[in-house]
């Protein structure tokens, strides 16, 4: 009898603990572009508003401009990312393009947001750093950064330029080359 009671208690306990520990959220995915705060007397209303993306009509995609360049959907493996498909020769001085991949505090956006391929993410991330170091994106820099190069110290205060060839200096050899005769 005692064992049955104990088992019952333990079952109750388990169900109680598991119900408190588990937090399964079954709401819909949030599509929020902006958080708005409104103060109405003593009431504070915070709402997430889905807004159309800024300057959406100016978006450039390779399939819109030149559909022949983009391969058909049959071979999904070889489908290039939108930056590869555009085939632009971006330099670190093209701040108007690079500033799109950057948060308002100057940080590079992660790959899950930019949706770039690995190679392009690395390339653009390095070029953003180059532009920051050369002092070309002064209004998009972290707060602790000495924004203007002239206010920096020592070797950092003079003008610099960068060569984009140095981004992929380390050539990663293809493993299949090893067995070629």
């Amino acid at each position: 009898m005692a064992s049955i009671i104990r088992r019952g208690v333990s079952f109750m306990k388990n169900s109680y603990i598991s119900s408190s520990a588990r937090t399964i959220v079954t709401t819909k995915q949030l599509n929020i572009k902006e958080l708005r705060e409104q103060k109405d007397g003593s009431k504070l209303v915070i709402e997430g508003v889905t807004l159309p993306s800024l300057r959406a009509q100016l978006l450039v995609r390779a399939q819109n401009t030149n559909p022949s360049l983009v391969p058909s959907e049959g071979n999904i493996e070889k489908k290039p990312c939108y930056m590869c498909a555009l085939g632009l020769d971006v330099k670190h001085t093209d701040v108007l393009i690079l500033s799109q991949f950057v948060r308002s505090d100057g940080c590079m956006l992660p790959r899950r947001i930019t949706k770039l391929c690995r190679r392009q993410q690395k390339k653009i991330g390095t070029m953003v750093t180059m532009a920051q170091k050369a002092g070309l994106m002064i209004n998009l820099t972290p707060g602790n950064c000495k924004k203007d190069p002239k206010k920096r110290r020592d070797y950092k205060k003079f003008n610099t330029y960068f060569d984009e060839k140095t981004i992929f200096m380390k050539r990663i050899p293809d493993q299949s080359d090893k067995f070629k005769r």
Binding site: S53, L59, T160, Y161
Partner: protein, 140 residues
């Protein structure tokens, strides 16, 4: 130098010079400012010294251009006389007697890049967009 003149001779003063301005604003590539070292030896034992490019530029903003031109020339007896025909000024101020004889301009090879905050707001807003935020992105 006046190599294009028919009266040119190394021992002849043709009157041609090169004036270089704004040498304080030169740009070096990548990490060159702290990687490049200039060697000097006084001639005495232990008299060797290595000065980094940014240290040299702090002391004399004309020195890096002067050394670059000097190194690029042939190491003959004419070199030091030809160097006399190069005037380098750290800023835009050029003496009047030099400036009044300037007849032509050699354009710079590398254009100065435009800073993002110097581009007008209208142009930034109308520039074509490449990256679009995902649906669930919260603007920061």
């Amino acid at each position: 130098m006046g190599l294009h003149k028919p009266i040119y001779h190394p021992m002849n003063d043709c009157g041609d010079v090169v004036v270089c301005i704004n040498s304080r604003e030169i740009a070096l590539r990548g990490e060159e400012w702290r990687r490049r070292a200039y060697f000097h030896h006084t001639g005495y034992p232990g008299g060797a010294s290595w000065t980094l490019a940014w240290e040299l530029h702090n002391k004399d903003p004309t020195m890096i251009i002067k050394k670059a031109v000097y190194k690029a020339m042939q190491g003959n007896l004419q070199r030091r006389h030809t160097m006399e025909r190069l005037f380098i000024y750290p800023g835009e101020k050029v003496p009047d007697d030099v400036l009044q004889n300037v007849s032509n301009q050699i354009r710079q090879l590398r254009p100065v890049p435009t800073r993002l905050d110097h581009i007008p707001e209208e142009e930034v807003q109308n520039f074509p967009k490449v990256m679009d935020y995902p649906e669930d992105y919260v603007l920061k």
